[in-house]
């Protein structure tokens, strides 16, 4: 996974979606490394959660974006599945409801944020409001232009409140998407995952890539950088995102809080009352 530098033009075509930079050498090794990382993630998550009980406000927000079939759902299943589910706050953003449309676009996002100690996961996010909104022309261009700065200020405020924002663009190739969509059509148990709208979006592929390039360029900030995750190989995608989460959690280095009560006295009382 590669961190997008702030404010430099982004050319997604220059990133190889099948690449495996810095990763394990193959699938078997990758799966094993991801499982091992999962155990460490679960341990760090418990510490993060425990620290929050003593007032530590820090938490993680993982944002997953990418074209249809890029593996946002698969990442939640295979990476987030390693965490204790009690400490995860997962939100999949769909087309806005009537109520959501009546509010500023950041409203629904704000309501879904992780609490201190939690791992928050957004499957789609505020970025839909500069992606599909741009491609489909859902808002006037001027209003759209203002949203990038609004998102950056929003994320800056989150960072200052203790939220480590990790934004991943799951980068798949045009060819891989076709293969995955065909795979869904070939398996009746996967028909429910398919919608003819997926084909309409696929026809707009270049427009979406362009919209992503603009979002990544304008919104990869020091407070909340964007990462491009090559996602044609599922095992690499899972490994890379596990790795990213691990790096961030290790940097936070959460600690079990010290007892705020007299341990010896509590032990004696427990032994006393029969």
């Amino acid at each position: 996974m590669l961190r997008i530098p702030s404010g430099k033009p982004v050319d997604l075509a220059s990133y190889d979606a099948r690449a495996t930079p810095a990763g394990p050498s193959g699938k078997a090794e990758g799966l094993e490394a991801t499982t091992r990382a999962g155990e460490r993630l679960a341990g760090l998550q418990e510490r993060l959660w425990a620290a929050a009980t003593a007032g530590d406000r820090r938490r993680i927000l993982l944002i997953l974006q990418g074209m249809d079939t890029s593996g946002k759902g698969g990442t939640v299943k295979h990476v987030i599945g390693h965490f204790n589910p009690s400490g995860c706050r997962i939100k999949a953003f769909k087309e806005p409801t009537a109520e959501e449309r009546g509010h500023p676009f950041l409203w629904r996002v704000t309501r879904a944020l992780p609490q201190p100690g939690e791992i928050g996961i957004f499957d789609r996010s505020q970025y839909e409001d500069v992606l599909v909104a741009r491609v489909r022309g859902l808002v006037p261009r001027r209003q759209l232009g203002g949203r990038y700065g609004q998102i950056n200020r929003f994320e800056q405020t989150l960072a200052e409140d203790g939220v480590t924002v990790v934004k991943c663009f799951l980068h798949i190739s045009y060819e891989e998407q076709r293969a995955r969509l065909l795979g869904r059509l070939d398996n009746p148990d996967k028909h429910w995952k398919f919608s003819t709208g997926d084909i309409e979006d696929r026809l707009l592929w270049p427009d979406y890539q362009k919209a992503y390039e603009i979002a990544l360029e304008r919104c990869s900030t020091d407070a909340a950088p964007w990462y491009v995750v090559p996602a044609d190989r599922k095992w690499y995608r899972n490994w890379a995102i596990s790795r990213l989460l691990l790096e961030h959690l290790e940097a936070l280095d959460p600690q079990y809080p010290k007892a705020d009560f007299d341990v010896e006295e509590s032990r004696e009382r427990l032994l006393e009352i029969r």
Copy 2:
């Protein structure tokens, strides 16, 4: 696990918290059986979720109640951890907030219900309002008395809306609780899980057991029965709850929905556009 019959007096002392009825013969076998059950649970969960995309409103609500250290959190980690976290809606109920106290007691519960296709998990629930509320005398006795019927009507309505309510009382012995509390005190990494309030509640053990007996007797209904899960052995508790969820999900028998689009036409279009 034993289903509590409707309206019959309940004597918790007659249930052995170390028992392993109908279960695997030992820990190793139990862990293996739970893992195997977990795979089937995950498969059924996907079907339930898929069915909901086509309008099936059915869902599961697992309610976990029990004394401190009875393993509510452990159940979420080890049993619910087998599910895809995207399809789980987990809520741990704490002491009511000022806002929650301003509403009827079922208000906060209603807001945390699973959506169609989801597995909802309550770590504590509306039952706190007839348990701690009774033991600590938080509401007048007359008001308390009305709550059992209110809970039953609430759960009846849930059942009619497609919610399979599975209520588990995690039954641990007084001795096992002491051992677990002492275990938390002995390990500095677990001090955060301990509170001196746990000792205060332990002093009220007989009152809590009585409050549970009344709740189980009055609120084990055909629409939403109570199960007593012997919980002194963690592996058995996890196996028993997995087993219960499996039975209920298998009874629902959710099906992948049929395609609501022309599969062949979609395939042709995908192959056409290069």
